[in-house]
Symmetry: C2
Subunit: 142 residues, 2 copies
């Protein structure tokens, strides 16, 4: 039987995060000691490892919830899990494309900075005038 702190260490999670996962129903309510402290078994260790690993790969908690539901039905077809992973891959590729455009723009901005006075600063100039940009980079976020 593991305390929440031990489980946290074993999975590289913060204690509060485990309690948060319980609160939103991602982790089950565990057994308790006589004094009311949470006690975990190996099932919970596996489940939390799964969750953490999926998080590291960028899956949302909702996607993880789906994947966990799926893994409770081993007789089902693999198609749904596959679709979730493909969706995630697509998102990652979109974010990559956008970040690459940003990198290009930022590099140019920095390269052109002559190190003079603020009034001639290319950085500020480019930020002031989007038409100087080579790419669109329309979207904000992620």
């Amino acid at each position: 039987m593991l305390t929440i702190g031990t489980l946290a260490k074993k999975t590289g999670t913060k204690v509060q995060t485990i309690r948060y996962y319980e609160q939103i129903g991602l982790m089950p309510e565990p057994g308790r000691s006589q004094g009311g402290q949470r006690r975990y078994g190996l099932d919970e260790l596996d489940r939390l490892s799964f969750v953490r690993h999926a998080r590291q790969l960028g899956f949302s908690l909702d996607a993880i919830r789906e994947l966990l539901d799926l893994s409770d039905h081993p007789e089902k077809s693999c198609a749904e899990a596959d679709a979730i992973a493909r969706r995630q891959l697509k998102q990652v590729e979109q974010r990559l494309a956008r970040l690459e455009a940003l990198r290009t723009e930022l590099k140019r901005m920095v390269r052109e900075c002559s190190g003079g006075q603020m009034s001639d600063c290319r950085v500020l100039e480019v930020l002031r005038d989007h038409s100087e940009c080579l790419t669109d980079h329309q979207e904000i976020g992620a």
Copy 2:
């Protein structure tokens, strides 16, 4: 004189976002009509355009605040603005590197999925066992 809605349209911002920027001190308190509605001039249009463009390039609101402060002192050296941009570039490059690692892992996961039953699903298998991964992808977020 522009209404908040017109300013929003011209800059591709939501009305609420403009009020939010005012609330956190990123945009100044504008003049008001007799009835109490906000009225903006060209200065505010420029400032908001600057903010939005910097946001599109991924700068945080704090970084943008610094850049705005700097651009109010045109006699200062350009070094600080340059540093902020370089910091941003570095962040973007770090995120790129991590996303590329994720893409590799996700691609492998999806490629190896044979389309059979959930019990043989490579997607779930890889998520269950981190040791199957080629990269570390330690960090969560961004």
